[in-house]
């Protein structure tokens, strides 16, 4: 693979916010023909104006996992199935997974390697298909054995990335994760029926990472996937604290994906809020509703939902189906209101900031992988609050008075000019707790204060 094209360093002082525009519709048309049944399903749904929804769901036992897949397939939603892999498999401790299965202990996901390809194929037979593709979701920095099993099974799709599954969830050196993911991508790419691969880069630590870095990492991981032979990918973004900021972020992500992943088959996936989740049922459904409307208004193809059980425990199959059907109903309502036209937003320069991070990062290496490693080593990329030893952990973010995420201290990232150069005061321990609970408070207020109940009387 030849070295990526290196664009000139973007001038840091000449950010010219554009008026309320978006290039969603043009960008969408730049994607290549869908490859593989996962991407075909998403593409068909988009043509029919329907949002694809997907749960987070994983059980250790085959019978229960199958019941979950059946229920999602039979739900009143345009749904893709999910098999979430357990924690032991994520760290390649397959022996512990086998012991747990033998002892009948509960696992927090489906142990693909411990069950083996034969059993996993049996699980999928008769449920997965052209009208119900299934994605395997994991969280592994070193997923070679898992991916080998997925290739053997003939899985439709999986996800992750060399940065997004290394820095937040592992102690694996970034350089090692990058090397491992390069091999893993090859495994998927060499298969005759292409497997879809989604970047988890839009969700660093779940919350408190400003949009520009989420977008940059997702697009860079997408470019890394292409560098290692993938043809069908998705780029991601996780709902944050401010709907209009999220709308701008998703437009920027789509525009940059269109520019940097040209010729590939790609789409955008949104995650319902991944941070501290509302505890009340009303609050949880409300934040889910917001994420659905955000997905529809931004022209996002696929949404991975959460359930009201999220703040308390692992959701049941029924709770997952409820969340999917609720999301499908909200999506239909929103599409009816907006008729598919992208919603306007005021431009605060997220696109320029993300593009500059991507371009300047690529100057650090001959390949996307080596550029990522060096950029993190220099603190040129720096995920706020992330404790991984290969992350500088000098950058800081906070939530401003309007609820927007912003850089309070960009560390060594080249962002000062873009954020106005003014650092805010250091985050205190309880200040951090306050910010982490921002969405929880915002969405729980309705039920806790009870105002909406009065209106219903």
């Amino acid at each position: 693979m030849s070295a990526p094209t290196i664009a000139a360093r973007a001038p840091q002082t000449t950010v010219t916010p554009q008026s309320t525009t978006s290039s969603q519709t043009t960008a969408a048309s730049q994607t290549a023909q869908p490859r593989g049944r996962f991407s075909r399903f998403v593409s068909q749904a988009r043509q029919q104006g329907r949002l694809v929804v997907q749960p987070r769901m994983g059980f250790g036992e085959i019978a229960q996992m199958r019941a979950g897949l059946d229920a999602v397939r039979d739900s009143h939603a345009t749904a893709i199935g999910t098999i979430t892999v357990d924690s032991y498999t994520r760290v390649n401790d397959h022996e512990s997974a086998r012991r747990a299965l033998a002892a009948g202990s509960d696992l927090n996901g489906f142990p693909v390697v411990a069950h083996g390809a034969e059993q996993t194929r049996r699980l999928l037979a008769g449920v997965s298909g052209e009208q119900f593709p299934v994605q395997f979701r994991h969280g592994s920095a070193l997923p070679y054995e898992l991916f080998q099993a997925l290739v053997e099974v003939g899985a439709d799709a999986t996800e992750g990335g060399p940065v997004s599954y290394c820095l937040p969830y592992s102690r694996v050196p970034l350089a090692r994760a990058v090397a491992a993911w390069a091999e893993c991508c090859r495994l998927l790419a060499d298969r005759p029926e292409p497997m879809h691969l989604e970047s988890f880069g839009g969700c660093m630590l779940g919350q408190m990472c400003p949009p520009s870095l989420l977008i940059a990492l997702s697009v860079l991981e997408g470019m890394f996937f292409r560098e290692h032979g993938l043809q069908s990918i998705s780029v991601s973004y996780a709902q944050q604290t401010h709907p209009e900021q999220d709308l701008e972020a998703l437009a920027a992500l789509r525009r940059l994906a269109g520019e940097r992943l040209g010729g590939m088959d790609w789409h955008v996936v949104l995650y319902t809020y991944m941070g501290v989740f509302p505890r009340t049922a009303v609050g949880a459904f409300r934040i889910l509703e917001d994420s659905v409307r955000l997905a529809v208004r931004s022209g996002t193809e696929r949404l991975i939902v959460k359930t009201p059980a999220e703040a308390h425990r692992i959701p049941t199959i029924a709770e997952n189906v409820d969340a999917l059907e609720f999301s499908a109903a909200v999506a239909e309502d929103e599409a009816g209101k907006f008729g598919g036209a992208p919603a306007p937003f005021s431009d605060t320069g997220i696109y320029e900031e993300a593009r500059m991070l991507i371009d300047t990062t690529l100057e650090y290496g001959d390949t996307v992988g080596s550029a990522l490693v060096t950029a993190f080593a220099r603190g040129h990329l720096d995920v706020p609050y992330c404790l991984h030893v290969d992350n500088a952990n000098r950058s800081r973010a906070d939530i401003d008075s309007r609820g927007r995420l912003r850089w309070s201290d960009p560390g060594a990232m080249p962002l000062r000019a873009l954020v106005g150069g003014e650092r805010t005061s250091k985050t205190s321990a309880f200040g951090l707790i306050d910010m982490l609970g921002y969405n929880e408070r915002r969405f729980d207020r309705e039920q806790l204060v009870g105002g909406h109940l009065k209106g219903l009387r």
């Binding site: 979701r137 937040p168 991944m274 703040a311």
Partner: protein, 204 residues
């Protein structure tokens, strides 16, 4: 002092001088004591998760809290193997090791860790506490605290309502260096955030 010095009587004056000297000595001693306190009050903390726990925000919070309490913090981060914790203890000899865990495996991983750590002779007296969601059974988790302390932790803070027990533990470090604090049903700093952060820490 001026009053004593103006006394004409030699003996009194002499007494006064002695008193003055004593006072000065006391003050010098106290001054030194104050200096000692302020220097040694910058306790060196080692913050760490256990081997199977990938939750990060609880560790970020604890570091900020301990730094605000004038501590120097080394943060080992998530999914730390027992050997890495023990090596770091031997290398840097922190004043207090704070183990924070919220994935429900604390009673398993923490127990194994403290047994290994206490088996190292140099670390037999090191102050080591654990806190968070120590099991997956909610209120029943309290039972794990006794077991963890019995096996070598100086304190075990299982989750529930506030930060007071951990704060008072921090305050007691100097005065009661080897008192085992068993604070079942009282949360650590990490705990305050642990419950909510379970979802926030899960990948995929």
């Amino acid at each position: 002092m001026g009053v004593i010095a103006t006394k004409p009587c030699w003996t009194v004056d002499r007494m006064g001088f002695r008193l003055l000297t004593f006072v000065v000595q006391v003050f010098q001693g106290y001054g030194a004591e104050v200096t000692d306190i302020s220097v040694s009050y910058r306790k060196r903390f080692l913050v760490t998760s256990v081997s199977s726990d990938a939750h990060m925000w609880n560790l970020v919070f604890l570091q900020l809290l301990l730094e605000e309490r004038d501590g120097d913090v080394t943060n080992l981060g998530i999914c730390v193997p027992d050997e890495v914790i023990i090596d770091e203890c031997l290398r840097s000899r922190p004043d207090v090791v704070v183990v924070s865990t919220v994935n429900g495996h604390g009673h398993i991983d923490g127990l194994r860790l403290i047994r290994k750590l206490r088996a190292v002779p140099e670390l037999a007296d090191m102050k080591v506490v654990i806190g968070g969601k120590l099991g997956v059974k909610g209120a029943e988790n309290a039972k794990y605290s006794a077991e963890l302390v019995a096996n070598g932790f100086d304190a075990a803070f299982e989750s529930s309502t506030g930060l007071a027990a951990f704060e008072s533990f921090l305050g007691s470090i100097r005065s009661k260096p080897r008192t085992a604090v068993l604070a079942a049903s009282v949360p650590t700093a990490a705990d305050l955030v642990s419950h909510e952060l379970v979802a926030a820490g899960s990948p995929a």
